[in-house]
Amino acid sequence: MVNWHRLANPTSFLKWSRRVLPWASVTTVILLAAGLYLSLFVAPPDYQQGETVRIMFVHVPSAWMALFTYAVMAGASATGLIWKSPLSHLTAKAAAPIGASFTLLALVTGALWGQPMWGTWWVWDARLTSVLILFFLYLGYIALWEAIDDYTRAAKSTAILALVGVVNIPIIKFSVDWWNTLHQPASVLRMDGPSIHPSLLVPLLVMGGAFTGYFIVVLLIRLEREILARQAQVLRRAQLRS
């Protein structure tokens, strides 16, 4: 039903995104309300961590979204390079700040969640350390966009960086996990153990859905901004030369 080639053309994409935006916003708000209600009122406190387990409902979705956004950036960069569509590069550029915000959120909520257990604000736990490194990868990506003034060169250079980054993330994750087991007994805190009790899993998934909805809404807004900024740049250049 959606002719993807037509969507690759920025103008028709804008018409499509302006139709989708209201629906995405409404769904996000509903999911967020449901998620908050479930997380704060319905989910039982954990027998071991008590009420602090509720922080998981913010921390875990943020960590998921941090990784998911980088995957979106890498995918958009790959399509941008292969099919030379500027819209993909702009999507990656629009997604980066969102990913960085989710990563920052994951770090802060991780520290808040760990504090009662470990007694300190920051613990070199494998997961938190990997998220911290991911944060640097985001900052590097955004900094490279700002550093190169020529748009086409910036788009392709950042695309290569995103692909190099996405190849390195599992390697970094593997080495940090190994490093963590070497220096510290397995951390007692189950950050997001697979065998979560359904009463905790449901709010988690709903919050995850809300965060994903939020990601789509902000991405569409930022993407439209990038497209307009790009068009303004082209127009300004054109006036300059005529």
Binding site: L137, A143, A147, I171, L182
Partner: protein
């Protein structure tokens, strides 16, 4: 093949001839490591414990120092345009430049690292592991660092940005490089870590030149 060796030979000659690049990097490496006892205190037990990490972090930073000029000099004086016309694919030109960078920066660090082991009172058995780990890890630094250098080749004073892009990618080499020395220091067998370092290098060998060539082509436009 001669083209490949010609490029490596020229770059190494330039690094040693100008008397700059190589000596500066080695001196920085020794100086950076020598600062730690002054900061942390001369107790042997402490120094011995942090020696592998300190040496490796200093090695990363030393390699980083000479990276931003790896492609930028050739980009600015037009050599990159000519190298792109050589009968050697750009990927191999990139590999040659990284090899030259390792020979003029990484290798001197490997050669001097036992001296630093002594400086930080690393115990006997760990010296062999230190040499092996440095030898296995530093080439990957040049390859991965080359990607950052190629991405920032057209950016004025891109050195700081280069560090931000590349240091996170150095973390696996840092972890397993240090791990190899720690294992040997504790009398364990550090072989596994060296294997992982070799694996990282094996992965970087095809990937890095491909990414570097892609980044350089952008800047040739």
């Amino acid at each position: 093949m001669t083209t490949f060796l010609q490029i490596v030979a020229r770059d190494v000659r330039l690094a040693f001839r100008q008397g700059g690049a190589t000596m500066l990097v080695v001196v920085f490496f020794v100086l950076a490591v020598a600062l730690f006892p002054l900061g942390v205190g001369p107790e042997t037990a402490v120094l011995r414990r942090i020696a592998p990490g300190v040496i490796w972090v200093a090695a990363l930073l030393a390699a980083m120092l000479s990276l931003d000029r790896l492609f930028q000099v050739d980009f600015e004086d037009g050599s990159l345009d000519q190298l792109a016309l050589a009968p050697l694919p750009l990927e191999l030109v990139a590999a040659a430049k990284c090899l030259a960078h390792w020979l003029s920066t990484g290798l001197p660090l490997v050669v001097i690292s036992p001296l630093l082991g002594v400086l930080l009172e690393l115990n006997g058995e760990a010296h062999a592991a230190l040499l092996l780990a440095m030898a296995a890890g530093t080439p990957a630094l040049s390859l991965v660092g080359g990607i950052g250098a190629a991405l920032t080749v057209s950016i004025r004073r891109g050195g700081v940005l280069l560090s931000l892009l590349v240091l996170p990618l150095y973390i696996p080499v840092l972890i397993f490089g240090t791990g190899a020395i720690d294992a040997a220091a504790m009398g364990l067998e550090g072989g596994a870590h060296l294997l992982v370092l070799a694996a990282l290098l094996a992965a970087a060998l095809p990937l890095a030149p491909w990414a570097i060539a892609g980044a350089l082509r952008l800047n040739l436009e």
